[in-house]
Symmetry: C2
Subunit: 179 residues, 2 copies
Protein backbone atom coordinates (compact mmCIF):
# COMPACT_ATOMS: atom_id res chain seq x y z
CA UNK A 1 0.00 0.00 0.00
CA UNK A 2 2.95 2.30 0.61
CA UNK A 3 4.41 4.06 -2.45
CA UNK A 4 7.95 3.42 -3.67
CA UNK A 5 10.76 4.96 -1.68
CA UNK A 6 9.30 4.60 1.78
CA UNK A 7 8.64 1.67 4.08
CA UNK A 8 5.23 0.48 5.10
CA UNK A 9 5.88 1.51 8.70
CA UNK A 10 7.09 4.98 7.82
CA UNK A 11 4.08 5.54 5.59
CA UNK A 12 1.71 4.41 8.34
CA UNK A 13 3.46 6.73 10.79
CA UNK A 14 3.00 9.64 8.42
CA UNK A 15 -0.66 8.93 7.74
CA UNK A 16 -1.32 8.68 11.46
CA UNK A 17 0.52 11.85 12.31
CA UNK A 18 -1.09 13.78 9.47
CA UNK A 19 -4.57 12.68 10.53
CA UNK A 20 -3.85 13.54 14.15
CA UNK A 21 -2.69 16.97 13.06
CA UNK A 22 -5.86 17.68 11.08
CA UNK A 23 -8.13 16.62 13.93
CA UNK A 24 -6.12 18.46 16.56
CA UNK A 25 -6.32 21.63 14.49
CA UNK A 26 -10.06 21.24 14.17
CA UNK A 27 -10.38 20.71 17.93
CA UNK A 28 -8.28 23.80 18.67
CA UNK A 29 -10.38 25.87 16.28
CA UNK A 30 -13.55 24.84 18.12
CA UNK A 31 -11.92 25.39 21.53
CA UNK A 32 -10.88 29.01 21.00
CA UNK A 33 -14.01 29.82 19.03
CA UNK A 34 -16.26 28.62 21.86
CA UNK A 35 -14.18 30.15 24.64
CA UNK A 36 -13.44 33.57 23.18
CA UNK A 37 -15.10 33.96 19.79
CA UNK A 38 -11.84 34.12 17.88
CA UNK A 39 -10.37 31.96 15.13
CA UNK A 40 -7.23 29.93 15.71
CA UNK A 41 -5.37 32.28 13.36
CA UNK A 42 -6.35 35.21 15.56
CA UNK A 43 -5.36 33.23 18.64
CA UNK A 44 -1.90 32.64 17.25
CA UNK A 45 -1.37 36.32 16.53
CA UNK A 46 -2.54 37.35 20.01
CA UNK A 47 -0.42 34.66 21.63
CA UNK A 48 2.68 35.69 19.71
CA UNK A 49 2.17 39.33 20.66
CA UNK A 50 1.69 38.51 24.33
CA UNK A 51 5.14 36.90 24.43
CA UNK A 52 6.86 39.75 22.60
CA UNK A 53 8.67 42.69 24.26
CA UNK A 54 6.18 45.49 25.00
CA UNK A 55 3.41 43.20 23.71
CA UNK A 56 4.11 44.25 20.15
CA UNK A 57 5.82 42.79 17.12
CA UNK A 58 6.56 43.81 13.57
CA UNK A 59 4.37 42.38 10.85
CA UNK A 60 7.32 40.76 9.16
CA UNK A 61 8.29 38.87 12.33
CA UNK A 62 4.75 37.62 12.82
CA UNK A 63 4.77 36.26 9.28
CA UNK A 64 8.08 34.47 9.94
CA UNK A 65 7.00 32.97 13.26
CA UNK A 66 3.77 31.62 11.83
CA UNK A 67 5.19 30.87 8.37
CA UNK A 68 2.43 32.91 6.73
CA UNK A 69 2.41 35.20 3.71
CA UNK A 70 2.96 38.87 4.54
CA UNK A 71 -0.37 39.74 2.98
CA UNK A 72 -2.17 37.25 5.17
CA UNK A 73 -0.85 39.04 8.23
CA UNK A 74 -1.80 42.39 6.79
CA UNK A 75 -5.38 41.42 5.95
CA UNK A 76 -5.89 39.66 9.27
CA UNK A 77 -4.50 42.59 11.24
CA UNK A 78 -6.86 44.90 9.37
CA UNK A 79 -9.84 42.78 10.45
CA UNK A 80 -8.54 42.47 14.01
CA UNK A 81 -8.02 46.22 14.20
CA UNK A 82 -11.67 46.71 13.25
CA UNK A 83 -12.60 44.59 16.29
CA UNK A 84 -10.10 46.45 18.52
CA UNK A 85 -8.10 43.31 19.27
CA UNK A 86 -4.87 44.97 18.13
CA UNK A 87 -3.71 48.37 16.93
CA UNK A 88 -1.11 49.41 14.39
CA UNK A 89 1.77 51.66 15.34
CA UNK A 90 4.54 53.39 13.40
CA UNK A 91 8.10 52.16 13.84
CA UNK A 92 10.44 54.98 14.89
CA UNK A 93 13.74 53.36 13.93
CA UNK A 94 12.65 52.10 10.50
CA UNK A 95 9.89 54.09 8.87
CA UNK A 96 9.10 51.20 6.53
CA UNK A 97 8.08 48.92 9.37
CA UNK A 98 4.80 48.68 11.25
CA UNK A 99 4.23 47.55 14.80
CA UNK A 100 1.26 45.37 15.61
CA UNK A 101 0.31 46.07 19.21
CA UNK A 102 -1.80 43.96 21.55
CA UNK A 103 -4.88 45.95 22.63
CA UNK A 104 -6.87 45.44 25.86
CA UNK A 105 -9.70 43.60 24.12
CA UNK A 106 -7.15 41.31 22.50
CA UNK A 107 -5.47 40.64 25.80
CA UNK A 108 -8.84 39.77 27.30
CA UNK A 109 -9.79 37.49 24.39
CA UNK A 110 -6.46 35.70 24.75
CA UNK A 111 -7.00 35.22 28.48
CA UNK A 112 -10.42 33.74 27.75
CA UNK A 113 -9.14 31.40 25.07
CA UNK A 114 -5.92 30.21 26.67
CA UNK A 115 -7.25 27.71 29.23
CA UNK A 116 -9.32 25.85 26.63
CA UNK A 117 -6.43 25.89 24.16
CA UNK A 118 -3.96 24.57 26.71
CA UNK A 119 -6.34 21.89 27.88
CA UNK A 120 -6.81 20.68 24.32
CA UNK A 121 -3.08 20.60 23.63
CA UNK A 122 -2.26 18.85 26.89
CA UNK A 123 -5.07 16.31 27.06
CA UNK A 124 -5.05 15.73 23.33
CA UNK A 125 -1.33 15.47 22.78
CA UNK A 126 1.54 16.34 25.10
CA UNK A 127 0.34 14.40 28.14
CA UNK A 128 0.31 11.23 26.05
CA UNK A 129 4.01 11.43 25.17
CA UNK A 130 6.43 9.90 27.67
CA UNK A 131 9.02 12.30 29.07
CA UNK A 132 12.10 10.94 27.30
CA UNK A 133 10.22 10.45 24.03
CA UNK A 134 9.19 14.09 24.30
CA UNK A 135 12.80 15.22 24.44
CA UNK A 136 13.73 13.34 21.30
CA UNK A 137 10.57 14.35 19.44
CA UNK A 138 11.06 18.02 20.23
CA UNK A 139 14.63 17.75 19.05
CA UNK A 140 13.52 16.26 15.73
CA UNK A 141 10.83 18.92 15.37
CA UNK A 142 13.34 21.72 15.87
CA UNK A 143 15.75 20.17 13.37
CA UNK A 144 13.05 19.74 10.75
CA UNK A 145 11.72 23.25 11.23
CA UNK A 146 15.24 24.65 10.96
CA UNK A 147 15.97 22.73 7.74
CA UNK A 148 12.70 23.69 6.06
CA UNK A 149 12.55 27.31 7.18
CA UNK A 150 14.75 29.80 5.37
CA UNK A 151 16.74 30.63 8.46
CA UNK A 152 13.86 32.63 9.89
CA UNK A 153 13.25 32.94 13.63
CA UNK A 154 16.12 30.72 14.70
CA UNK A 155 16.08 32.42 18.10
CA UNK A 156 12.61 31.02 18.67
CA UNK A 157 13.87 27.56 17.73
CA UNK A 158 16.83 27.85 20.07
CA UNK A 159 14.47 28.67 22.92
CA UNK A 160 12.30 25.67 22.15
CA UNK A 161 15.30 23.36 21.96
CA UNK A 162 16.61 24.64 25.29
CA UNK A 163 13.28 24.39 27.10
CA UNK A 164 12.47 20.93 25.83
CA UNK A 165 15.76 19.37 26.86
CA UNK A 166 16.03 21.03 30.30
CA UNK A 167 15.62 18.92 33.41
CA UNK A 168 12.16 19.21 35.03
CA UNK A 169 13.04 21.54 37.92
CA UNK A 170 15.84 20.85 40.41
CA UNK A 171 18.27 19.97 37.65
CA UNK A 172 21.18 22.05 38.92
CA UNK A 173 20.84 20.78 42.49
CA UNK A 174 20.66 17.20 41.30
CA UNK A 175 23.83 17.62 39.26
CA UNK A 176 25.71 18.99 42.26
CA UNK A 177 24.42 16.11 44.36
CA UNK A 178 26.17 13.64 42.10
CA UNK A 179 29.53 14.72 43.51
Amino acid sequence: VAPDGISEREWALWRGVALMGRRLSAALERAVQDAAGISSAEFEVLNALSHSPDQQARARDLADMLSWEKSRVSHLVTRMTARALVTRGACETDMRGTWVVLAPAGSQALANALPAYVRTVRDGFTARIAADDATRLASVAVDVARDLGNGACSAELDAIAAASSARPAQGVIAEDAVH
Copy 2:
Protein backbone atom coordinates in the same frame (compact mmCIF):
# COMPACT_ATOMS: atom_id res chain seq x y z
CA VAL B 1 6.76 31.57 29.50
CA ALA B 2 4.39 28.60 29.47
CA PRO B 3 0.74 29.31 30.38
CA ASP B 4 -0.90 27.82 33.46
CA GLY B 5 -1.86 24.18 33.34
CA ILE B 6 1.03 22.88 31.28
CA SER B 7 4.71 22.37 31.96
CA GLU B 8 7.48 24.30 30.30
CA ARG B 9 8.68 21.17 28.52
CA GLU B 10 5.27 20.20 27.26
CA TRP B 11 4.69 23.71 25.94
CA ALA B 12 8.04 23.70 24.17
CA LEU B 13 7.24 20.32 22.65
CA TRP B 14 3.96 21.65 21.33
CA ARG B 15 5.45 24.82 19.88
CA GLY B 16 8.13 22.78 18.14
CA VAL B 17 5.72 20.22 16.75
CA ALA B 18 3.27 22.89 15.59
CA LEU B 19 6.01 24.84 13.81
CA MET B 20 7.33 21.66 12.20
CA GLY B 21 3.83 20.88 11.00
CA ARG B 22 3.36 24.28 9.41
CA ARG B 23 6.67 24.15 7.59
CA LEU B 24 6.23 20.57 6.48
CA SER B 25 2.83 21.46 5.03
CA ALA B 26 4.34 24.37 3.16
CA ALA B 27 7.12 22.14 1.81
CA LEU B 28 4.62 19.51 0.65
CA GLU B 29 2.53 22.19 -1.07
CA ARG B 30 5.57 23.37 -3.00
CA ALA B 31 6.64 19.80 -3.80
CA VAL B 32 3.40 18.67 -5.44
CA GLN B 33 2.86 22.05 -7.09
CA ASP B 34 6.28 21.97 -8.74
CA ALA B 35 6.11 18.30 -9.68
CA ALA B 36 2.57 18.06 -11.01
CA GLY B 37 0.87 21.46 -10.89
CA ILE B 38 -1.67 20.41 -8.28
CA SER B 39 -2.42 21.68 -4.77
CA SER B 40 -1.88 19.49 -1.75
CA ALA B 41 -5.66 19.28 -1.29
CA GLU B 42 -5.96 17.90 -4.80
CA PHE B 43 -3.09 15.52 -4.11
CA GLU B 44 -4.87 14.12 -1.09
CA VAL B 45 -8.05 13.47 -3.03
CA LEU B 46 -6.18 11.74 -5.86
CA ASN B 47 -4.14 9.70 -3.41
CA ALA B 48 -7.23 8.59 -1.49
CA LEU B 49 -8.96 7.56 -4.70
CA SER B 50 -5.97 5.60 -5.94
CA HIS B 51 -6.13 3.43 -2.80
CA SER B 52 -9.89 2.85 -3.04
CA PRO B 53 -11.57 -0.16 -4.70
CA ASP B 54 -12.09 0.54 -8.43
CA GLN B 55 -10.24 3.84 -7.94
CA GLN B 56 -13.41 5.51 -6.79
CA ALA B 57 -14.94 6.65 -3.52
CA ARG B 58 -18.11 8.29 -2.34
CA ALA B 59 -17.94 11.97 -1.53
CA ARG B 60 -19.00 11.35 2.04
CA ASP B 61 -16.13 8.91 2.61
CA LEU B 62 -13.59 11.34 1.19
CA ALA B 63 -14.84 13.99 3.61
CA ASP B 64 -14.45 11.57 6.54
CA MET B 65 -10.99 10.40 5.58
CA LEU B 66 -9.67 13.92 5.19
CA SER B 67 -11.81 15.38 7.99
CA TRP B 68 -13.16 18.03 5.62
CA GLU B 69 -16.58 19.62 5.25
CA LYS B 70 -18.79 17.93 2.68
CA SER B 71 -19.09 21.17 0.77
CA ARG B 72 -15.33 21.47 0.52
CA VAL B 73 -15.21 18.12 -1.21
CA SER B 74 -18.03 19.12 -3.51
CA HIS B 75 -16.46 22.41 -4.57
CA LEU B 76 -13.03 20.87 -5.04
CA VAL B 77 -14.40 17.96 -7.06
CA THR B 78 -16.22 20.45 -9.29
CA ARG B 79 -12.95 22.26 -10.00
CA MET B 80 -11.05 19.01 -10.50
CA THR B 81 -13.72 17.74 -12.88
CA ALA B 82 -13.23 20.85 -14.99
CA ARG B 83 -9.56 19.89 -15.31
CA ALA B 84 -10.46 16.24 -16.04
CA LEU B 85 -8.58 14.95 -12.99
CA VAL B 86 -11.67 13.10 -11.76
CA THR B 87 -15.20 12.38 -12.96
CA ARG B 88 -18.48 12.02 -11.11
CA GLY B 89 -20.59 8.89 -11.39
CA ALA B 90 -24.02 7.88 -10.14
CA CYS B 91 -24.25 5.32 -7.35
CA GLU B 92 -26.49 2.38 -8.36
CA THR B 93 -27.20 1.00 -4.90
CA ASP B 94 -28.03 4.34 -3.24
CA MET B 95 -29.34 6.98 -5.58
CA ARG B 96 -28.49 9.73 -3.09
CA GLY B 97 -24.77 9.00 -3.27
CA THR B 98 -22.19 10.10 -5.83
CA TRP B 99 -19.01 8.34 -6.84
CA VAL B 100 -15.88 10.36 -7.39
CA VAL B 101 -13.79 8.46 -9.92
CA LEU B 102 -10.09 8.82 -10.65
CA ALA B 103 -9.61 9.86 -14.30
CA PRO B 104 -6.50 9.20 -16.45
CA ALA B 105 -5.21 12.75 -16.11
CA GLY B 106 -5.62 12.51 -12.35
CA SER B 107 -3.78 9.22 -12.24
CA GLN B 108 -0.97 10.78 -14.25
CA ALA B 109 -0.79 13.87 -12.04
CA LEU B 110 -0.62 11.65 -8.97
CA ALA B 111 2.18 9.61 -10.49
CA ASN B 112 4.09 12.81 -11.20
CA ALA B 113 3.57 14.20 -7.71
CA LEU B 114 4.10 11.09 -5.61
CA PRO B 115 7.92 10.81 -5.73
CA ALA B 116 8.40 14.41 -4.62
CA TYR B 117 5.77 14.06 -1.92
CA VAL B 118 7.28 10.86 -0.55
CA ARG B 119 10.78 12.28 -0.62
CA THR B 120 9.64 15.30 1.38
CA VAL B 121 7.84 13.17 3.96
CA ARG B 122 10.71 10.75 4.32
CA ASP B 123 13.67 13.12 4.31
CA GLY B 124 11.81 15.77 6.24
CA PHE B 125 10.21 13.61 8.88
CA THR B 126 9.92 9.83 9.08
CA ALA B 127 13.57 9.00 8.44
CA ARG B 128 14.51 11.12 11.46
CA ILE B 129 12.42 9.09 13.91
CA ALA B 130 14.08 6.01 15.39
CA ALA B 131 12.24 2.73 14.74
CA ASP B 132 10.95 2.10 18.26
CA ASP B 133 10.05 5.75 18.79
CA ALA B 134 8.07 5.54 15.57
CA THR B 135 5.97 2.68 16.91
CA ARG B 136 5.00 4.57 20.04
CA LEU B 137 4.42 7.84 18.20
CA ALA B 138 2.14 6.20 15.65
CA SER B 139 0.23 4.58 18.47
CA VAL B 140 -0.30 7.93 20.18
CA ALA B 141 -1.35 9.50 16.88
CA VAL B 142 -3.95 6.82 16.27
CA ASP B 143 -5.31 7.18 19.79
CA VAL B 144 -5.57 10.94 19.53
CA ALA B 145 -7.20 10.79 16.10
CA ARG B 146 -9.70 8.24 17.39
CA ASP B 147 -10.58 10.33 20.44
CA LEU B 148 -11.02 13.55 18.50
CA GLY B 149 -12.79 12.13 15.45
CA ASN B 150 -16.46 11.30 15.79
CA GLY B 151 -15.93 7.61 15.17
CA ALA B 152 -15.37 8.22 11.48
CA CYS B 153 -13.07 5.99 9.41
CA SER B 154 -11.96 3.75 12.25
CA ALA B 155 -11.08 1.10 9.68
CA GLU B 156 -8.43 3.44 8.30
CA LEU B 157 -7.09 3.93 11.82
CA ASP B 158 -7.00 0.18 12.47
CA ALA B 159 -4.95 -0.28 9.32
CA ILE B 160 -2.49 2.40 10.39
CA ALA B 161 -2.14 0.92 13.85
CA ALA B 162 -1.52 -2.55 12.43
CA ALA B 163 1.03 -1.40 9.85
CA SER B 164 2.98 0.77 12.26
CA SER B 165 3.43 -1.93 14.90
CA ALA B 166 4.25 -4.80 12.51
CA ARG B 167 7.76 -6.20 12.48
CA PRO B 168 9.91 -4.94 9.58
CA ALA B 169 9.73 -8.01 7.30
CA GLN B 170 10.54 -11.56 8.47
CA GLY B 171 8.47 -11.17 11.63
CA VAL B 172 6.57 -14.46 11.38
CA ILE B 173 9.68 -16.48 10.62
CA ALA B 174 11.54 -14.89 13.49
CA GLU B 175 8.74 -15.70 15.91
CA ASP B 176 8.76 -19.33 14.88
CA ALA B 177 12.53 -19.39 15.23
CA VAL B 178 12.20 -18.58 18.93
CA HIS B 179 10.90 -22.08 19.58
